[in-house]
Amino acid sequence: MDVFLSSLVSVAFHGIAYGMILYVISVGLSVTMGLMGFVNLAHGAFAMAGGYVLTSVISRFGLPFPLALALAFIVVAAASVLLERWFYSRLYDAGELEQVLFTIGLIFMAVAAAQVAFGMLQRPVLLPPYLKGQISVLGRDFPAYRVFLIAVSSAMIAALWFGVERTLWGAMVRAAVDNRAMAQSIGINTRRLFTLTFALGSGLAGLGGALGAEIIAIQPTYPFEHLPYFLIVVAVGGLGSLRGPFAAALLIGVSDTACKYWLPQFGAFFIYVATIFLLLWRPAGLFGRRV
């Protein structure tokens, strides 16, 4: 009984850590899709880029871990501003097919570039000593890294929710998601809003990729391999919402961990089947509005 209980706690803990990472990575995708209606399949590439920034600055320049995390956010956000200004913005009015193709093209290029620059192998993450051990909570030991990860993600999520729900910028974003034309007509500069929001979402993806580098291994095929999970989070959670993807990410994180722990022979089978049925039941996602 106690063995079962401890494995239950362990699965829940690891699942929540995984779900948090999934959320931090995917929330930007949800907002950009809801705000701009842009199907950005290359979102995973930003997360991968964040992971590579983290591992490179730590191994090459020996920067401390928290600084490397911040750098991952800043570098990816800055790069995404250029991408958005030069390329993405040209395709806002194009059809879904063009957007899908363009972003698949970006994935291919990102994968190839990562292979040339960093090789095929998984990049090891050099964790600082204070994140390596175990932390004991209520008589159980938890890996410090995952506790740190959950804490940082929670702080990020709280800041993000506060920003969107309580600030003027958040109000403008919500207005533009609800009705872009109306938002524009009352003088909101949606063009600049898009760029900023896109940068924030991509930066968060970079941060999530860096933060979760121990859980979701950083390797060149990252954007391809994990794309279904990011999309599931957004599609199941509901476009343009913040809470929906959070619930979806936790649900997927915990159930994926549980499946891999108890039923490894089925792999990700149940996740995909559950997604199919969830989307049949609620095509607009758990918390999405019907379009």
């Binding site: 390329f87 097919l97 193709l101 970006l106 040339v116 957004v234 476009l239 990700a268 997604t275 379009v291």
Partner: protein, 324 residues
Amino acid sequence: MTRAVGYGADPRIRFAEWLPWLAAVAAFFLLPDYLPLGARILTYILFALSLDLILGYAGIITLGHSAFFGLGAYVAGILAAKLGVTDPLLLLAAAAGAAGALGIATGAVILRTHGLTQLMLTLAIAAVCLEIAHKATSVTGGADGLSGVAIAPIFGAFKFDLYGKTAYLWCLALLFAGWWVTRKMIYSPFGATLCGIRENIVRMHAIGVPVYRRLLTAYAVSAMLAGLAGALLAETNQFVGLNVLGFEPSGELMVMLILGGVGRLYGAFVGPLVYLIAQDFLAKQFPEYWYFGIGLMLVLVVLFARGGILGIADAIVARARRYV
């Protein structure tokens, strides 16, 4: 946007439309060393043609078309390797039937949705198929692939030979049949409603077209053609690997079709031809640069040349006509 083919155009086969077939027959005699590659190209043309029907004409964006291709390949492969069914025609029929059934079953579901949900569903369905093929190792061979696919001679007379002659002609014959069916469909009123649905679905509803049923029919036919292509691949390679399923082969197929030109029937011929020949020459020497080039090409096509190679050719011809 003007289209080279479609309802309203003269449905008779023009002279130029025979040229690909002449070229294919000429290639059989002139390039005997490249017949295995040729058979592969013909198979992928059939696969691309099936995608063009739903993506180019009906406007259904799918990231999981490989589900049907892979199902066809595995049905043919498993029947031949495990159950001793070796007649090539029977295998093709079984594969097309299975893929068509999956097409109807999944199409009935995904065609009720749109946008991201639809995209996600197609991706999830392909992912489920990949997981099954990956984990059901006793039937599918799992990651090692399914080997030992033994195929009897076609009609009991033509054996699959070492040089790929039979395989090439077999693929050519089936591609011709697939092309014939697709072309008939596109030039029919049915094809016209598909284009109408792609261009303005609301108006098609308004004029009383049974949109859902039309899309489902197109989806099922497309799935059957894709299954047929998959079975062809299994028969000519006598091996089925996991790489026929999942997101990557779907994406790769889309790249081929886009490269040739979407929604113009012959884009599906040009794309796989150029892509697979280029891959044969370049991909082995420079795999990283190959993938980078593919991505760059996609981006450039989307930004500057949305009609693909045939679109560029059209533009050149149109410009030349102005000066003549």
